[in-house]
């Protein structure tokens, strides 16, 4: 049995090495998945430096860096380490990181399904509101606060929203419009005429660009659908209206026609969001359909700082493309800032959130880039940001749309939206599926029970 002894000895070494490497590696991590108890708080002595890990997807990095620089200047003992993701990546990365116990201190949370995906890993605002001024609530727009609270299944406030956004809206290259003698389109006919003029002028300028990514399709479509009835998309998702109702078929038909008659180009559907933005930013497109979070392009200072070459930008509602419709956009609170349970520096994190939401000096660092209509009561954008009449009227139009209070946006982002609706809309846009057939297939998928409703 000597053999066995030797085998054992040989293997013991290998096994020890394996176990050792496992346990060494395990040291950094407490283990477990989705642990949901609050991390102990680090004691921070006076003058001691603290680094906060801040993850988000929005607003854009150049904007946030300004805010962070201002905050760090005012709080020399706190350093903010920002990590920013694209919207799609963030949907995956944030839940993964929080459930794996990664130590994050401030996270941007979408006021949408994302809030529910990660809420068990977040500290309710009530837990850390003690670090905020006592009157903080009175400084924040109550409607936005209510939306943020109601989105959570347990009706608890998990984040403080930076502001409100709406989509979809249209940005225009005011220089191109001026050159071709085009006015901002109000209706389908206007838009079709404008597109024809831009096409005729040539010069490598695309008439209308927008993201072809799947998640953007429902944003565009609901803008059209809500022109029929501003609450239509709300009613679809709450089951009050069937997905194959005449209204929806009408909306699908109008949407399909936009592509069928060439007003919108099917080729655009293969553009990534960044490609669409890029095309518009470099002056190669007359119109860009985007969310209001893209309003930074209205600011000439922002354009200059970020190498955006388009000279002058206007904005407005998506043209009315259904008979008897009204301009519409879905709007909602957005840019929730939250503190994960894994944070060891909740007090410092709260300080940063306060700076970003209730402190006028802090809010102005990002609000001047126009990414959101700030939730801070009484905040008005410094008029010097908007340097041209087109930008001024454009920003006013976008703001009016957002405050008009259309259907909600974001609270209905479910796998039904991403795995069924968006793909169906792409088919409709490309003319592969007739509106009625598309509506019927939507309704049958909706009723299949495969896609849980929020």
């Amino acid at each position: 049995m000597r053999n066995d002894a030797q085998v054992r000895r040989g293997l013991a070494a290998a096994a020890t090495a394996l176990v050792l490497s496992l346990s060494v590696a395990a040291c950094g991590n407490s283990g477990g998945v989705g642990g949901s108890s609050n991390a102990g708080q680090a004691t921070v002595g006076a003058g001691q430096k603290v680094t906060l890990n801040y993850w988000t997807w929005f607003p854009a990095q150049p904007t946030l860096q300004k805010s962070i620089a201002a905050f760090e200047a005012a709080n020399p003992n706190i350093t903010i380490k920002l990590r920013e993701f694209s919207n799609t990546d963030y949907q995956k990365e944030l839940p993964l990181a929080l459930n794996s116990g990664q130590s994050l201190d401030v996270v941007g949370v979408q006021v949408s399904a994302m809030t529910n995906t990660v809420r068990t890993q977040l500290r309710p605002v009530g837990d850390w509101a003690g670090n905020l001024p006592a009157d903080w609530k009175s400084k924040i727009n109550p409607a936005m606060l209510a939306q943020t609270q109601d989105i959570a299944k347990d009706k608890t406030l998990y984040s403080i929203p930076m502001g409100s956004i709406g989509s979809a809206v249209v940005y225009s290259n005011a220089d191109v419009l001026a050159k071709l003698g085009i006015s901002f389109p109000k209706t389908q006919a206007d838009l079709a005429a404008d597109v024809a003029k831009v096409k005729a002028a040539g010069g490598g300028v695309a008439p209308v660009v927008f993201s072809g990514e799947a998640w953007w399709q429902d944003e565009m479509f609901f803008t059209v659908a809500d022109q029929i009835d501003p609450k239509l998309s709300d009613e679809l998702y709450t089951g009050k209206v069937a997905w194959n109702s005449p209204q929806l078929v009408k909306a699908l038909t109008a949407y399909q026609n936009l592509f069928k008659n060439g007003t919108l180009d099917k080729g655009t559907l293969s553009l990534k969001e960044t490609d669409a933005d890029n095309t518009f930013n470099s002056g190669k497109a007359a119109f860009l359909v985007e969310g209001s979070w893209n309003s930074s392009v209205l600011s000439s200072a922002y354009r200059k700082a970020n190498g955006i070459t388009v000279g002058n930008v206007g904005a407005g509602a998506f043209p009315v493309v259904v008979d008897g419709g009204q301009p519409a956009a879905r709007t909602f609170a957005e840019g929730g800032l939250a503190i994960p349970k894994s944070s060891k520096y909740a007090a410092q994190a709260a300080k940063f959130i306060q700076f970003m939401t209730t402190d006028p000096a802090g809010v102005s660092t990002w609000a001047s880039d126009l990414v959101l209509v700030p939730s801070l009561n009484g905040y008005a954008v410094d008029p010097s940001v908007l340097t041209t009449p087109e930008a001024q009227s454009g920003y006013a139009a976008v703001q009016a749309l957002i405050s008009a209070g259309g259907s909600g946006r974001g609270q209905y982002s479910t796998t039904f939206t991403t795995n069924v609706l968006d793909n169906t809309l792409l088919d409709v846009a490309r003319g592969n599926t007739a509106p009625q057939a598309a509506a019927d297939s939507l309704q049958s998928a909706w009723a299949s029970g495969r896609y849980p409703v929020q």
């Binding site: 066995d4 989705g34 982002s413």
Partner: protein, 328 residues
Amino acid sequence: MTSHLDTPPPGAPPAGARPAAPDPDPAAARRAAAARSRARRRALLPAALFLAPLLALYGVYYLYAFVFLGQTSTQNVDLSFTGATDVGFRNFQLVLTDPVFWRDIGNNLLFAAVSIAVSLTLGFFLAVSLASGVRARKFFFVVFLLPSLIPMSLFATVFGQLIQTNGGAINQTLRAVGLGALAQDWTGNTGSAYVAVFILLTYLIGLPVMYYTSDLTTANTAVLEAAMIDGAGTWQMYRMILFPMLRSTHKTVILSVLLGSFRWFEVIFFSTGSQPAGRTGIPGTYIYDQMFPSTGGGQIGYASAASLVVLVVAIAVSAVNVLVQRRR
């Protein structure tokens, strides 16, 4: 899906070349049955020790994993694995009745079939050409193998950029050389998206080329000389002599491509992203989209059920593979 996919599907390869399970030592077989079984039993302990690390890892990452999947597949649960609600076999019922799931399985088989067809023709021809003493052989070899051996996330991303409708290099090049009519909205309609995937799979021809190259060096190609003297044409030599000669390699190629095709998640995810409208999806992307939808929370229970179904299919294909290998 992970690394191993695209390239060398850790598949049948070597097994294809020889019997996988040699009979036990013939000398031992002749010994008395009792003595033999005693000796075999005595070997159990050392065998267990030698196999311990392997079985430990298999136990955790396969056996326990399958059990865990079985558990989550009957639940409605998210990535935090908390607050699960039991839904019985509803997830399986929903997966199995989802036409999209079956379309994705069909796509997987179609893509594997196309890849096999390309391998048996172009792959075969390239390998023979490379083995025929051409100049700059190593250069060509590296060029044809590279796409299969660099990270698939990277190659598929680059390919995804090439097939962009506006500004994509393929359309630009087609227009530049006067073939603008061939420019496509590649991910815009089903037909061209399939063609795009087929082209991408053609780029990943490295593995079969390696198999053929290897077996060509040991094959008895001297018979070609005799055929030459008998006046056989070049085409006849390819078709009547070389192709049949590599019959066992063809089998290896077919099985390994089929096995590897279940791991093509990145190929699709980073190139067409299942476009248009999910029509080029495969089971890998189907599961991933359930776990990480581009908005909204992942449905881990549903993804688990889909995973189990895919596992059953993949293991069934492996079983066929093992049986085929064993019989030979």
